[in-house]
């Protein structure tokens, strides 16, 4: 029993390397100059995690207790928008057991730390997503699943589906795959944990810093975010 459950992290990662070999480069100009390093490694999952960390970062990792607690107790808000959500039950249950990373599903955005965007987002969903994201308490992290959140995926030419999610809310990590397999999901979460531990998952700070820019983009796509019509009065 224990043997089955105790999948070694290395093994998981190996599979991921095979499956999700990066075919995408890091987008340029995604973040403002305030944040020095573009989040290259969050886009590319192929590198070994330990390679990502410079010695300086490793030092910081142990310094920040707050980051440690944040990283190891990620409660996720399950906001299932598309097909990728179907991979979460496997990641959650016995086979991959998300709980061993300290993660668990939570009912409301107030309690949650990470927002999983599992697939394409129509305009209508995006409004609710932004509202939900703004309700979450900080620090908060966003994980995008699959290509739909990255570039629209197979819905790239749809009139109702947005293409690039990071224009509207800051994304801390993308997980590749259409849909990403549970191994990739687990690996992605592990990467997120590492990022938080070294204090580099700063999407929520970016949202504060470039709030006007995000609002501008949201307005362009949506008109107004908080919609008033007969169903919402």
């Amino acid at each position: 029993m224990a043997k089955k459950a105790n999948i070694k992290k290395d093994k998981v990662k190996k599979i991921v390397i095979d499956k999700s070999k990066s075919i995408i480069d890091a987008p340029s100009g995604m973040f403002s100059d305030k944040i020095n390093e573009p989040f290259a490694h969050e886009m590319i999952v192929s590198k070994d995690r330990s390679e990502n960390l410079t010695p300086k970062q490793r030092k910081r990792k142990w310094k920040s207790m707050a980051n440690y607690f944040s990283a190891n107790s990620l409660w996720m808000l399950m906001y299932c928008t598309g097909c990728c959500a179907i991979e979460l039950p496997q990641a959650m249950t016995s086979r991959y057991d998300m709980e061993r990373l300290g993660m668990g599903p939570m009912a409301t955005p107030r309690q949650a730390d990470i927002l999983l965007i599992t697939g394409y987002l129509s305009l209508k969903t995006l409004r609710r997503l932004i509202y939900t994201y703004e309700q979450m308490s900080e620090p908060k992290y966003v994980v995008g699943f699959g290509p739909c959140t990255l570039n629209g995926g197979i819905y790239h030419d749809s009139h109702a589906v947005i293409n690039q999610l990071d224009q509207y809310v800051p994304i801390d990590l993308y997980i590749a795959g259409c849909m990403p397999k549970p191994e990739a999901v687990m690996n992605g979460f592990q990467d997120l944990i590492d990022l938080i531990e070294v204090g580099e998952a700063t999407g929520w700070k970016d949202y504060h810093a470039r709030y006007e820019w995000y609002k501008q983009n949201q307005k362009e796509a949506l008109g107004e975010v908080m919609i008033h019509d007969e169903f919402h009065e």
Partner: protein, 608 residues
């Protein structure tokens, strides 16, 4: 100063107030404040020095600790409620009559407490009944007044019958003497006891006579409901204590079979108390009108008081007395807060209100303290009395009665929380955006009452000592013991200041944790979790209607005692119709024929 002087002064002043109010509403209303406060101050200053020596004919009074205790409760409630009178002068139909009856009913209650003989007690009892009967229809409904009067009259008749029965047998009206004499004959004593107890039951709102309470409390003027619940209902408790302990009923009934250590008669009467607790609790949970809810809670608390008295145990009586005190104050406070809300918004229906805390924070805090006491949670007076009652119950091992008491106690969390959650918390309705905090004249009495509740919850010993004094005056062999700060129960001690201290200690710890952690961001009340949906209408986003729906559904098909009374009323009406049909119709032949038939029957009978 003698009691007679005070009572006559009150009666004279009450008539004077009528004319003062005729001249100026506000001055009249403030007169009631001054008079009640003056009476309170006199009673507090004079204390035991009050004497009942002076008398006019049969109007004799005697001063006992019990009477003093009750009149202090009464005066506190009256004087604090009187502060609200000036604000209601415009809303009440006949302000002059209201102010007069307000003071008159106070004079009546004091007369009842200090009466030396039954006749005086009965006269003042009737003054209270009549005064309050005329005040109730100043509010919403006249039917309430009719029901109240019908019930009270029934009680008065039984009371009077018992008085004359005792007089016929022992030739005295003096309370102590006649009850002392009645001890000898168990049958007469029990009959008189039950007949008098009926009057007490009706005033206290014990099942099945509880139906007048919610009707009268719910429909009386907002300023008089606290008097009814906090004051007049306790008259029934006074009468019950008096006859139970002076007789004492346990000695009279000692030949009967015993159940759980008490005679069967007492146990049966306790069951009525237990039923009142259950009925009052269940009905209070259902109510949408905050005043009716509190009225039903008075029914339930009446049950506690009755059980406490009938247990005839120094702890239980002390518990009952403190419960009378605590509940009178807390219930009056709660009614006053509802009155304050009603003054500002014009409604007492909970489903029409919400989020009043944002407009009336002090009223909210006062209500919170009142309900903590009503639910029997430390550190309030209600906890002390409940603790004492439970001690006595555990000592007797009456687990059936205890079951209902626990049910009532936990059930009280439900009903007292409902106004808190629905009326004060939650979403503020747009139409109440401009509501202001209650005026300062209303806040003062509410805060004072809360202070009393809190003070005797933290330091109950002076109160407990006074109940010990009452007990020894009533002839108890053993009285409740207290030492320094501890109340010694039969099976355990209570250290009320320690509990408060520990709570305060915990509060400091919690506050430190709260302050160390990062500061929170203030968000609006509509910025809540809506499953991602945009909502803009606060009134639709408020769980206020049918709050305990799943629980109510469990007993929605309950048998209703009101139906029984309605059936009785119908029978009386039918009989009246029949009489009218026979004697008051347009055809006198019917009446004549009826008389002839009767005569034939009579003559037939004589012949045989």
């Amino acid at each position: 100063m003698t009691i007679l002087t005070i009572i006559i002064a009150l009666i004279v002043l009450s008539f004077a107030t009528y004319y003062i109010t005729k001249i100026n509403n506000q001055v009249g209303a403030y007169t009631t404040v001054v008079v009640t406060l003056a009476a309170l101050v006199i009673f507090l200053l004079e204390g035991d020095k009050l004497s009942g020596a002076s008398s006019i004919g049969i109007l004799r009074f005697s001063v006992t600790p019990l009477a003093w205790f009750f009149s202090i409760i009464m005066l506190i409630v009256y004087s604090m409620v009187a502060f609200f009178n000036p604000y209601w002068m415009k809303k009440i139909l006949h302000p002059g009559a209201y102010n007069m009856l307000f003071l008159l009913s106070l004079a009546g209650t004091i007369g009842v407490f200090f009466a030396e003989n039954f006749i005086v007690m009965f006269i003042f009892w009737e003054i209270v009944v009549w005064a309050s009967m005329f005040i109730i229809p100043f509010g919403k409904s006249r039917t309430a007044s009719v029901v109240y009067y019908a019930m009270s009259t029934f009680g008065s008749f039984t009371f009077l019958y018992a008085i004359f029965m005792l007089y016929a047998n022992y030739g005295t009206f003096v309370i102590k003497d006649s009850l002392e004499a009645a001890k000898g004959d168990a049958n007469i004593a029990i009959a008189a006891f039950i007949l008098m107890l009926l009057a007490g039951f009706i005033k206290l709102g014990i099942f099945p006579f509880h139906i007048w309470l919610p009707m009268a409390h719910g429909n009386a003027p907002d300023t008089f409901s606290p008097i009814l619940s906090g004051g007049l209902v306790k008259l029934g408790a006074f009468l019950t204590i008096l006859i139970t302990t002076l007789l004492p009923i346990h000695e009279v009934t000692k030949d009967q079979a015993y159940i759980f250590g008490v005679p069967i008669l007492i146990y049966v009467l306790m069951i009525f108390g237990a039923i009142s607790i259950v009925v009052g609790t269940l009905m209070a949970i259902k109510q949408d009108d905050a005043k009716k809810l509190l009225a039903y809670s008075s029914v339930a608390n009446g049950g506690y008081i009755l059980i406490g008295i009938l247990l005839y145990d120094e702890m239980a009586l002390s518990g009952a007395l403190i419960h009378i005190f605590g509940h009178a104050i807390a219930s009056a406070t709660a009614f006053l807060t509802i009155a304050a809300v009603s003054y500002r918004t014009g409604t007492t229906k909970m489903s029409e209100l919400g989020g009043m805390i944002h407009k009336m924070p002090i009223t909210y805090v006062v209500y919170l303290m009142a309900i903590i006491s009503m639910a029997g949670i430390p550190p309030m007076t209600g906890f002390i009395s409940k603790w004492l009652l439970f001690q006595a119950l555990a000592d007797q091992g009456m687990f059936f009665i205890a079951t209902t008491m626990f049910f009532g106690s936990i059930g009280s969390f439900l009903y007292v929380f409902r106004p808190l959650s629905v009326l004060f918390l939650g979403q503020l309705k747009p139409e109440h955006k401009t509501v202001k905090e209650a005026p300062i004249g209303m806040l003062i009495p509410m805060v004072i009452l809360s202070g009393i509740t809190l003070f005797y919850g933290v330091l109950p010993n002076s109160l407990v000592e006074y109940t010990a004094k009452i007990e020894s005056a009533l002839g108890f062999d053993k009285v409740i013991e207290t030492s320094a700060l501890v109340i010694q129960g039969n099976n355990g001690d209570l250290h009320a200041p320690l509990i408060t201290g520990i709570f305060a200690f915990g509060f400091i710890i919690a506050l430190i944790i709260f302050l160390i952690a990062p500061k929170s961001r203030k968000v609006g009340l509509m910025d809540t979790y809506t499953a991602g949906e945009f909502l803009y209408t606060p009134s639709l986003y408020h769980a206020g209607y049918a709050y305990y729906a799943p629980f109510e559904r469990l007993y929605q098909k309950h048998p209703n005692i009101v139906a029984l009374f309605a059936a009785l009323v119908q029978k009386v009406k039918d009989f009246g119709k029949f009489i009218r049909f026979v004697f008051f119709s347009r055809w006198p032949g019917r009446g004549v024929m009826f008389i002839i038939l009767t005569m034939i029957l009579l003559m037939w009978g004589e012949k045989l």
